[in-house]
Amino acid sequence: MKILVNGDLHDVVVPTLAAVLDELGYRDRAIATALNGEFIPASARSSAVLSEGDRVEVLAPMQGG
């Protein structure tokens, strides 16, 4: 299944957002996620089932003004 993570194409085999984050190496990070423009809280990642072409955003803390 091909999905976009932060704009980059990834071919993943696991079905949920939580599993994809683990597969990509995001485990234990301070991150927040969105799926197709909607916020997905950490508690809902394991029940967020992905589909072909989904857009996942993974954001982390950053300097800001």
């Binding site: 980059d8 927040a32 996620t33 916020f39 950490a42 954001l59 982390a60 300097q63 800001g64």
Partner: protein, 256 residues
């Protein structure tokens, strides 16, 4: 000063972007005495660790964070970003920015009010980055905001207070609402001016981060903000059009 029931002793807030190094950022925050620093969110690939390192640095300093929604151009984007920020940073505070113009980074005040209404209803404590417009300010307060952050000048421009009359009117129109000057501050005297005008606090970022010596500039801003506040408390004189001799004329010798 109280912002959303949090008691603060420093009236200077500091942005964390554009410093030459994390070490200089750390020292600048310490030198500023700021108790609130602004932070943001950006994409991080699984191979990167910059965001994690930055967050550790901020947490070690023990300051309160005010996450922003910088770069958002619609209410929907800003609301989603606010939710993501609340989860990562563990705070209901959000510096709400909805940008309306790419060149001036002027807020889209229509999107701002819309996003503020949604976020306040959802339990966020919103700090809206707005203009000096009174009607917008009224609508933001009506949406549930209890602090306003009017701009001094376009973000990063360093021009100071572009519309002194408008800002003065805003201050007098909302005497009991905490007003924080955000954006456009260039030098400490701008910050002092804002404080003398009765604003509750000032947020500076580029002026400090991009100075030749950010740590020294942070200290200078701290002094300017404190001096401006103290001057306000000391009840300054009103300007006049004509001179008034400061030296008493009584008893002056007649030598003509």
């Amino acid at each position: 000063m109280q912002l959303y029931d949090v008691e603060l002793s420093s009236r200077l807030m500091l942005g964390t972007a554009r410093y030459p190094s994390p070490a200089i950022l750390t020292e600048a925050i310490k030198a500023s005495g700021a108790e609130i620093v602004t932070v943001s969110l950006r994409r991080e690939s699984s191979g990167e660790r910059a965001g994690q390192g930055f967050w550790s640095l901020i947490r070690e300093l023990g300051v309160r964070v005010l996450p922003n929604t910088a770069g958002c151009h619609s209410a929907k984007e800003a609301v989603t970003t606010a939710h993501m920020a609340r989860e990562i940073f563990g705070t209901a505070w959000i510096k709400l920015e909805v940008i309306g113009d790419e060149h001036t980074l002027q807020p889209d005040v229509f999107g701002l009010v819309e996003a503020a209404r949604i976020l306040c209803a959802d339990g966020f404590q919103v700090f809206p980055y707005t203009t000096e417009d009174l009607v917008v300010a009224e609508k933001l307060l009506g949406a549930g905001c209890r602090v306003l952050m009017p701009w001094g000048a376009p973000i990063g421009s360093g021009r100071g207070l572009n519309n002194v009359l408008g800002l003065r009117t805003l201050r007098s129109h909302f005497p009991d609402v905490p007003l924080v000057i955000d954006a456009g501050i260039g030098v400490p005297s701008h910050a002092a001016q804002a404080m003398e005008m009765g604003f509750d606090a000032v947020l500076a970022n580029t002026a400090v981060a991009q100075a030749g010596d950010p740590v020294k500039m942070a200290a200078a801003f701290a002094k300017a903000v404190a001096a401006g506040r103290e001057a306000l408390m000391a009840d300054p004189i009103e300007p006049r059009d004509l001179a008034v001799p400061s030296t008493p004329t009584i008893g002056k010798a007649f030598l003509a």
